[in-house]
Symmetry: C2
Subunit: 379 residues, 2 copies
């Protein structure tokens, strides 16, 4: 089985946007792409059948921290990896768990060795080190696995960001060493992506990009953004990273964002995205649609029997009315969470698919400038 | 449009079981049939697409009490009735709301006029009378609507059960009078089913059956069972009611029960069933399968990668493993509620479908006697 391939198909002449094809042992991914987040071996409230047929997901993301705790690695390995465990035969990417150790665990201590933490479910203690998270991700068996990094808070000062970045780089070397001395467990090839850090400091980001690029990995990720910095800063750093990361490798912007954030980052040269926003906000009744943003809890939708969104090709979005979905969300019916989650994810997949079409057609920039205004409207 | 028709197709020679076809303006129902409960315009955690394709539901039930409170009758009428509101084009049955007034409302007062209550959501006060619940059910627009009855607690003494039954009979007359002086709102025919009461007292039940039968309604229901009485008493009273209700009308046993309860009641001559058990118990991890009962929370399923149930024709039951479903339920993932609910409902629909086949084939009784043992096994 072969390592991941990145085939650049079209580069926009008016922006940094590109259309490409990523080949993995679990099939191809057409980029730009959005990856639904399947935290604990489930994209919340969505069946794998709906992911395939309604959302039209091409790749999903799993969280190493959550999977390590539940179902745990014994079950994961007995199942033959995450694909088989959850019944998802297309590509999967796992994060390294670092972000969750810092955001979720009740206690954690950071050392050169790694991060010692007490988990948020039953308080048991664990060490996540570069070697440990590679070991765990081998057992999970995602097609793309991530290096262990430290993600400093938004607005970190230069010295902290610098120290943190250097630690991330040393951890990267240990990740690569461990990755290269271990093998795939399930007969298909895993690919390790390193992560650029450096906070909001240009020279650190540039240094980090150069360091990461020198590893010649199958793809590269931009971490440490969407963590509290102003949105202009996010675009500025994202642009800088895209300029300093290899052209012939996929670029993955981690944890971003709204539909308009995504489309702007595509214009800067990003190929891959993930975010919990479509599912999390969907569960709270916030819907992203082709006509703008809807808070379905508002009384104005009570008697609106038009489809949730007839502008995308998703059976649930076309079939159920705004009034019905509002009723379900207000009455706290589980079905409301399902429909809202499927719709929002289908919308996210629709926008990256359309972005790809417009990149190929050559009118991406004007389309993007029109869409970011429409999508942000509050209906 | 025409009133409901009941076409008896096969009567078992060894038991009271029958196979029939019910024709409604929203299509036909093959009996015996189980009706999934769609409390607040949603069968909990199940999409209408899953109800059709996976569960293979032919008719679902809505709860008048819940629908009256949410979304309320203004929205319901603006939508054009419950079928259009929720996107369900097959038959629907609504209960009268009486049972929920007594089990859910925080305060209620029973008089000859009806039941005055404070609802359990925001405490607003309402009167449910025979006229009011017919009026509400006209607005909901179910194909089959139920008379307003009082359901005495299990084990009620003779005098209480008698007084209650007589009130139910007087309320029935008022329901029929109001039903006959009002019309269908949405261009298809609604049918009113009266309800037999009388507690566990043979002569009262017989009296009630005769009274109910004298109304010559399109179908008849047996109420006031599965409310705390011993299971032998339930079968005994159910048998008595089946013997004393018309042969040429559907018989509906309300709120029953386990798969083995249902199959035993089919043997006594019941045609229609509803119960929250498959969805409610499913959400707690109790699965009914063709091989027996599973508590999916048990550690014994942690590494069982076999399908949830390969004995029924349901994509989700065949696709997902016991280990995966256990993980989802233990991790409190919404997807676990969905899969368990769809599976249990599909199993309930499977058993009534197979019962029908065995009634037609003439070997229903021996099949039933074999199945009730298998289905009750704790796996």
């Amino acid at each position: 089985m072969a390592a991941l391939e990145f085939l650049l198909q079209h580069t926009d002449t008016n922006s940094g946007a590109r259309a490409a094809k990523i080949l993995t042992d679990h099939g191809e991914i057409l980029t730009p792409i959005f990856m639904p987040v399947g935290t604990v071996a489930s994209v919340k409230a969505v069946t794998q059948q709906q992911l395939l047929n309604d959302v039209k997901a091409q790749i999903i993301l799993g969280n190493t921290y959550h999977l390590f705790l539940r179902p745990g690695m014994d079950v994961m390995q007995a199942a033959g990896g995450l694909h088989k465990f959850m019944g998802w035969d297309k590509p999967i990417l796992t994060d390294s768990g670092g972000y969750q150790v810092f955001s979720l665990s009740s206690k954690r201590k950071l050392t050169e060795e790694g991060a010692l933490f007490q988990n948020h479910i039953n308080g048991s203690k664990h060490l996540f080190s570069p070697e440990a998270v590679i070991h765990i991700q081998r057992k999970i068996g995602a097609d793309i696995i991530m290096a262990f990094d430290e993600c400093p808070p938004g607005g970190s000062l230069y010295d902290y960001a610098n120290t943190s970045m250097e630690l991330t780089h040393r951890w990267l070397d240990r990740c690569i060493a461990h990755f290269e001395t271990t093998t795939d467990l399930y007969g298909y090839t895993q690919n390790l992506f390193p992560i650029v850090q450096g906070g909001t400091h240009h020279d650190l980001r540039k240094l980090s990009c150069e360091y990461i690029a020198s590893k010649d990995a199958a793809g590269n990720a931009i971490g440490g953004l969407s963590v509290g910095e102003p949105i202009e800063k996010l675009y500025e750093i994202c642009a800088l990273c895209c300029e300093n990361l290899p052209v012939n490798k996929p670029r993955y912007l981690m944890g971003v964002g709204t539909p308009w954030n995504i489309i702007e980052a595509i214009a800067l040269g990003v190929d891959m995205f993930d975010c919990v926003m479509p599912t999390r906000n969907g569960r709270n009744g916030m819907l992203f649609t082709t006509k703008g943003v809807i808070n379905i809890n508002n009384k104005k939708w009570e008697n609106d029997f038009s489809p949730i969104d007839d502008g995308i090709d998703c059976e649930l979005s076309n079939y159920y009315s705004k009034a019905y979905l509002r009723h379900l969300i207000v009455a706290k019916e589980i079905l409301g969470l399902q429909i809202a989650s499927v719709h929002n994810l289908a919308f996210y997949l629709d926008i990256v698919t359309k972005a790809r079409e417009h990149i190929t057609a050559g009118d991406f920039l004007s389309w993007k400038n029109e869409m970011v205004i429409i999508w942000q409207q509050r209906l």
